[in-house]
């Protein structure tokens, strides 16, 4: 009989026996600074050519960036990520003459663009279609005018059947003026398999959630945690963050009932592999492995 912590309510499906999880290290995990830098320069040249960038770039340390009047390009050092923007079309407040594609068209166009431009090595099977909406108000008494000015397709990787969460695993292509992309954020890390690790039982992870310092005060005050999503996957840090391994995590999303806020929502990551401090440091990103129990970002 699994132990379910008091004042934590599970409104989500829990995978009772996730078993071992495949471990993936990043391709540049053991790379020297010099090799990282040379790799960045090679990738910069490649993407500069692909996106027809002609102008002087700035070396910002964690990326090389070009910011022109009409286009921008950022190529990152710590991951294989690249971000290109047509500044005349992206983030606009009025629709382009070419119109905004509908959702299905946008997904088709985004997939075609990603396949031909990046040839990703992992499956990008999770798809979310979002939008950019602009509204204008000309007086307190007039009804505001709203219109959809762009559509954004976000594709996320699935590795060994598990989703990859976090800002470093996101391919976002938006269309603001016809079938050509206006903005392409390709945040990705090359991965190499590196064995398997036993996962924590989900209820052990939930017990750690209850003990998290974010919730100790509200639980003591009689409030309840309702977990609405609890899923095993991997965490990929922001594209400018160095990361040796994809961290196996449980994603916990939910709400604090009884809070003074209208919507006291949380989303945090619980390491799904029981690592001691040394292991956590070895596989972690940045200088601080934060805490062993949970994190929201690095």
């Amino acid at each position: 009989m699994p132990f379910i912590p008091k004042q934590v309510y599970i409104d989500a499906e829990i995978e009772e026996r996730p078993g071992p999880i495949s471990v993936y290290r990043t391709a540049n995990g053991g790379t020297s600074s010099r090799e990282l830098r040379q790799g960045l320069l090679r990738r910069w040249e490649r993407w500069r050519e692909v996106f027809s960038i002609d102008g002087e770039a700035t070396d910002l340390g964690d990326r090389i960036a070009f910011l022109g009047e009409s286009t921008a390009l950022e190529v990152y050092l710590a991951s294989e990520s690249v971000w290109w923007t047509d500044r005349t079309k992206a983030y606009r407040e009025d629709p382009g003459e070419g119109g905004v594609p509908d959702d299905d068209q946008a997904v088709h166009l985004a997939r075609r663009f990603i396949e031909t431009t990046f040839a990703p090595a992992v499956d990008l099977t999770d798809v979310v279609v979002g939008e950019q909406v602009a509204s204008v108000s000309t007086s307190p008494d007039a009804e505001p005018r709203s219109q959809r000015v762009a559509v954004a397709v976000t594709l996320r990787p699935v590795v060994s059947g598990r989703p990859v969460f976090g800002p470093g695993a996101k391919v976002r292509v938006s269309f603001a003026d016809g079938a050509e992309p206006s903005d392409v954020a390709y945040f990705s890390r090359s991965l190499e398999p590196d064995g398997e690790a036993e996962t924590l039982h989900p209820y052990q992870a939930l017990e750690r959630l209850r003990r998290d310092r974010r919730f100790t005060d509200v639980i003591a005050a009689g409030m309840e945690l309702h977990v609405r999503r609890f899923q095993l996957g991997y965490y990929s840090a922001a594209p400018n963050m160095f990361q040796r391994y994809l961290i196996p995590v449980y994603l916990a999303e939910g709400v604090v009932e009884g809070s003074e806020l209208d919507a006291d929502l949380f989303r945090l990551y619980l390491p799904a592999v029981d690592m001691d401090a040394r292991s956590m440091k070895e596989v972690s990103v940045r200088a601080n492995p934060t805490v062993l129990s949970s994190f929201t970002s690095f």
Binding site: Y91, Q132, A134, P140, P144, K170, F215, D217
Partner: protein, 226 residues
């Protein structure tokens, strides 16, 4: 070129605590090129620092000394449609409310609320909730249409791009896209009037900065998926 920040991690049992707002706000404060004017965190961060003197009940506002006394102010903490939430309620009610804010009649050009749902669209109600009553010279309110999560580095990402010369609106949107998932939507409200052009605002010293829209004739709202 003056900067202020306030942040809250400790909500004293009124809502869940947060972990990263100190790092998030300080990342902004320490990276943006300009004169740092104030930082108040946890129990020293108060809603009245963002509210107009004499407005609301109790009329505790003191923004002329804090939020409306700098060019840009960055709040990191819980938010809601009602306003920005603070952990201390000793001096006011603990929520910096739109109805108590008149921004830009002092110095403020850009207010950033890095917290949930302050700029929720609600079929255009955002204009009556935050827009017309609040804009008295301020150029932008930048925040979120949806919930936003407790991240460590959005402030520094925003500051870095302001320093590089991106427009204020581009810098905010890119910082949000780079730090959030696609279930989150960024948003901003901006004001204009004849003779101003806040669409093309940059951080001071990094490009064009519009004159202040003291009597705005148009408000523009944009939200987008991160």
């Amino acid at each position: 070129m003056t900067i202020g920040i306030e942040w809250v991690n400790n909500y004293h049992s009124s809502s869940s605590n947060l972990s990263n707002n100190d790092n998030n706000a300080r990342g902004f404060y320490n990276r943006l090129q300009g004169q740092r004017m104030f930082e108040y965190g946890d129990d020293l961060a108060w809603d009245q620092d963002f509210e107009e003197k004499g407005a609301g009940t109790p009329p505790a506002g003191g923004d002329q000394l804090y939020a409306d006394h700098v060019d840009i102010v960055f709040f990191s903490g819980h938010g809601s449609r009602s306003g920005a939430s603070f952990g201390v309620k000793t001096f006011d009610d603990g929520v910096a409310r739109a109805s108590n804010m008149l921004l830009g009649n002092g110095d403020l050009e850009w207010l950033v609320i890095d917290g949930c749902e302050m700029l929720a669209d609600d079929n255009g109600q955002v204009f009556s909730r935050w827009g017309w009553p609040t804009f008295r010279g301020v150029h932008y309110i930048l925040g979120f249409h949806t919930v936003a999560y407790d991240v460590k580095d959005r402030g520094e990402k925003f500051a870095d791009r302001l320093n590089q010369g991106w427009t204020v609106r581009e810098a905010w949107m890119r910082a949000c896209i780079e730090s959030e998932d696609a279930n989150v939507s960024y948003a901003y409200l901006r004001a204009d009037q004849p003779g101003t052009d806040t669409f093309n605002d940059h951080w001071h010293g990094k490009g064009f900065v519009s004159a202040d829209p003291r009597n705005p004739t148009v408000l523009c709202y944009l939200r987008g998926t991160c």
